[in-house]
């Protein structure tokens, strides 16, 4: 972006990893980079737990009847898998890890706007996580991660605790979102207008809007649920005079926008990785920026498409289906923009780019299969079958995870100052692609053939596809394990990364690898557009003149 500035590290400040070592210094740090890394390892730990649960679930489904566990245990396993993966992994993953680490760097800032609030969000996350795990000691939770009433108000176990955990975790998410909005408004480098923001920032900003507007609704809903369970106030349970479908409206009013809390950050990563490895300006900057905002806003108007068969009126069904289709447009625009960015570029198939291409393919399948579910008559057939399970794993699990891995491999040299083994990382990426599709493609077919979700026993006609899916889950697990091991192995060697290993144009590549605690020796100044890859980039002022 501005290579006119002096390179860092020349002044001899130690980098943020070497300065103030020791556990206590890490636990009390307000450095956004350290908080990002602590989020990275916390989320990774829960991803491993959630992933192991997924393997156990897949193993149970190897045979139509009992394989390794009872129905009660199976129900608890898929509930915990869903709750951990949603609230502890996917929602925080990209904003809290990559956003915390990279957003201030991309803006040329020293830190986020409220560093202490940022640390508080991590502690709140840990408290929420501890509460979620403690439900295991309270007899587990068997409601599914969606906590549908009146089942959730009448079943035993640690439902109240799990619901309160999700409530607490919501605050962690709100704190992060609040921080990103304030940081983007107040801490941009001199010369950086809204349209010189790297698109990662636009994506994070849109995500933050959802985080602070939608999460409180989840909080209120979950509190009402706890009040009903503990004090027997009739809100959702018809036995007490409540309305069970009301809960679904409340729940999806948050949880559908939350889907975009999961995918917008993934798209944000793509908009950085693809131009860098195509060595070409992002195509359609404004279209990508505004489509992020459009997705964030439209995301609030489509919640009831989860309820087409829940006894809603015909009219309401039609409205929500109609609005849902509009979400498809900004998503399609983004995909075409990314492909156009690659067009006539200089494409370097380094690991982050491989993950990005992987993302484009998986997201294309995930997005298009959404059309089946947005359309009313086909959704009636597919609702609550494995087709839905597969669809949301493609968009939420697959796309989010691939984007996280793309971003992690992209910024890893910046995080730890070390390069990883490119061959092993490439093999891991390939295994993940094969494993993911082997796991979830058969689930589309069994779903459209009628296999309902959350089934412990199933009819024998579905066994072949379940076996294929289970074998796929082993390949996927092997790929993820190899990716993690490759990254960890790089930490054993001395720091060898140059400040700008991928020839990126954004500010973070001007900082050292790893950066100093305050990121930059001198405040960077935004002179060129963040995606100007010309040999002699044109200063922003002149470019704007020539554009009008």
């Amino acid at each position: 972006m501005a290579d006119a500035m002096t390179p860092t590290a020349a002044h001899g400040h130690p980098d943020y990893l070497s300065e103030n070592k020791g556990l206590w210094n890490w636990l009390t740090t307000v450095d956004h980079k350290r908080i990002g890394l602590m989020y990275l390892w916390s989320v990774t730990a829960f991803m491993i737990i959630g992933g192991l649960l997924a393997l156990v679930i897949r193993l149970e489904l190897l045979t139509p009847r009992q394989t390794i566990m009872s129905a009660e245990l199976y129900n608890r396993a898929f509930t915990l898998h869903g709750a951990i993966m949603t609230f502890l992994v996917i929602i925080p993953a990209i904003p809290a890890i990559l956003g915390n680490f990279a957003l201030p760097l991309l803006l040329g800032a020293k830190d986020v706007a409220f560093p202490r609030l940022n640390l508080a969000s991590l502690y709140v996350y840990w408290i929420g996580a501890a509460m979620a795990v403690s439900t295991l000691l309270l007899g587990g939770v068997d409601t599914g991660w969606t906590f549908y009433t009146p089942y959730s108000t009448t079943t035993g176990g640690g439902v109240s605790m799990m619901v309160l955990a999700a409530f607490v975790l919501g605050f962690s998410s709100i704190f992060t979102g609040l921080n990103f909005i304030a940081t983007t408004h107040k801490l941009r480098a001199p010369g950086m207008g809204w349209f010189q923001l790297p698109l990662f920032v636009w994506g994070m900003y849109s995500t933050a809007i959802i985080q602070i507007l939608a999460t409180p609704v989840l909080g209120i809903t979950l509190l009402l649920l706890v009040m009903e369970r503990v004090f027997h106030i009739g809100i959702f349970d018809p036995q007490l005079g409540g309305d069970p479908v009301l809960f679904q409206h409340f729940f999806w009013f948050y949880s559908h926008p939350a889907v975009y809390i999961m995918i917008l950050p993934a798209m944000a990563v793509m908009s950085e990785v693809i131009p860098t490895f195509s060595k070409k300006s992002i195509f359609g900057y404004k279209a990508i920026a505004f489509s992020s905002v459009a997705i964030a806003l439209l995301g609030f108007l489509v919640w009831a498409h989860h309820m087409f068969v829940a006894g809603m009126s015909l009219f309401a069904g039609a409205i929500f289906s109609f609005l849902t289709f509009f979400i498809a447009i900004p998503s399609a625009i983004k995909v075409f923009n990314w492909i156009a960015t690659m067009w006539r570029g200089s494409i370097d198939l380094k690991v982050p780019m491989l993950y990005a291409i992987n993302f484009l393919l998986i997201f294309t399948i995930g997005g298009l299969t959404g059309l089946f579910l947005a359309s009313l008559s086909t959704d009636v057939h597919l609702h609550d079958t494995y087709f839905v399970v597969s669809h949301f794993h493609y968009v939420m699990a697959g796309s989010n995870m691939l984007a996280l891995l793309a971003g992690l491999h992209y910024w890893w040299p910046k995080m730890y100052g070390r390069m990883y083994n490119n061959t092993l990382a490439t093999i891991a990426c390939t295994l993940i692609f094969i494993g993911f599709n082997a796991t979830f493609l058969p689930q589309f077919v069994m779903g459209s053939r009628g296999m309902p979700r959350r089934y412990y026993n199933y009819l024998e006609q579905f066994q072949t596809m379940h076996v294929a899916s289970t074998i796929g889950s082993w390949i996927l697990a092997a790929g993820l394990f190899l990716a993690l091991a490759t990254l960890l192995a790089s930490l054993r060697k001395p720091k060898d990364a140059v400040p700008n290993p991928w020839n990126g144009r954004t500010f973070e590549w001007e900082a050292g690898s790893p950066p100093i605690t305050h990121n930059f020796e001198h405040t960077p100044v935004c002179i060129y557009s963040p995606y100007d890859y010309r040999e002699h980039p044109v200063p922003i002022a002149e470019e704007e003149k020539s554009a009008h």
């Binding site: 549908y148 069970p244 195509s278 060595k279 498809a328 492909i339 006539r344």
Partner: protein, 313 residues
């Protein structure tokens, strides 16, 4: 390409499924096309413009308004087309024909109970006549369930405290699988039912003699089911307490006197008469308020009732 449809979807067995299947296959082909279209573009770009050196010079293209409008408008047209197609199918599946046979469905952990217009009931097996519209009026006794028939492409949640409806016209004879598709706890995956789409002759037999389950049930058990489900229990206790009518406990073989002062021995004929023509000999001291069950009970159910009363010693 019928093989592809038959691979992805269960065999259709109801009217109205053609439209849903058509849309399903349309979106399927659209998905396949765009996956290979996007994948092909990426593959082409990677092959043609793979980096040769870090000094490669690339053109500075920031946007192309015309192209961007094209690739926004085309998807918009496609999805609006899909919306209207799906909406049309949804409306068709919503409007119930007036002459539909009405069946009440009760979902409870973890069984489906069906009640027919003649008052008879069955568990987990639903008999319907072929080629005749059937309307299900559904409600739940506990948590939310969902009634899903893949072969009919229909599904609707079954909710406590309110009624939801579904309708279909079965066009293929045979047995069709029903699943519960709203998670309802431990027995969720065993909450299955079957729909028997009967030919007119089979349906006649069913109406006359009940379904296979009922036909195979020992008489005494059948009698108990009748006692519990047909409202007998409201007035006649089985533990000796006096209700609107006399208790059924240990009455078989006893002598009673009716309102006219005539005495009877309680035997099979007396029970039969009391069910079909209750006013004929009302036990002294009771009001003549029992309705007749003429036409509401099958012959075997009356025999079952007699056996059941015999067993209440």
């Amino acid at each position: 390409m019928n093989w592809f449809r038959d691979f992805l979807l269960p065999k259709s067995a109801a009217s109205n499924t053609g439209d849903v299947d058509g849309l399903f296959m349309f979106i399927t082909w659209l998905t396949v096309f765009f996956f290979f279209f996007n994948g092909g573009l990426i593959w082409y770009a990677v092959r043609k413009w793979r980096r040769r050196s870090n000094d490669d010079i690339t053109p500075h293209i920031t946007h192309d308004t015309k192209l961007e409008i094209i690739w926004s408008v085309i998807p918009l047209i496609v999805v609006m087309f899909i919306f209207f197609w799906g909406f049309r199918g949804y409306v068709r599946a919503w409007v119930v024909p007036n002459d539909a046979l009405e069946i009440v469905v009760t979902g409870k952990k973890w069984v489906w109970e069906f009640e027919y217009p003649d008052g008879s009931r069955s568990l987990n097996d639903l008999h319907v006549p072929l080629n005749k519209p059937v309307k299900l009026v559904m409600h739940s006794e506990d948590v939310i369930h969902s009634f899903f028939v893949p072969a009919f492409r229909i599904k609707r949640d079954v909710i406590p405290g309110r009624y939801t409806e579904l309708w279909f016209t079965a066009t293929e004879p045979g047995v069709h699988q029903v699943y519960c598709t709203e998670y309802c706890g431990k027995g969720h995956s065993d909450m299955l039912a079957r729909i028997f789409a009967d030919t007119p002759e089979q349906y006649e037999v069913f109406l006359r003699e009940g379904d296979e389950q009922v036909r195979k049930m020992p008489l005494k058990e059948l009698g108990k089911l009748v006692y519990e489900n047909k409202g007998c229990a409201t007035c006649h206790s089985i533990d000796g307490t006096r209700g609107q009518g006399p208790s059924l406990k240990a009455i078989y073989g006893q002598q009673i006197t009716d309102a006219a002062g005539k005495s009877h021995t309680i035997d099979a004929n007396y029970i039969r008469e009391s069910i079909l023509n209750p006013q004929a000999s009302v036990v002294a001291g009771y009001e003549p308020i029992m309705p007749t069950f003429q036409g509401l009970l099958r012959e075997r159910e009356i025999l079952g009732m007699i056996e059941y009363i015999k067993s209440l010693q």
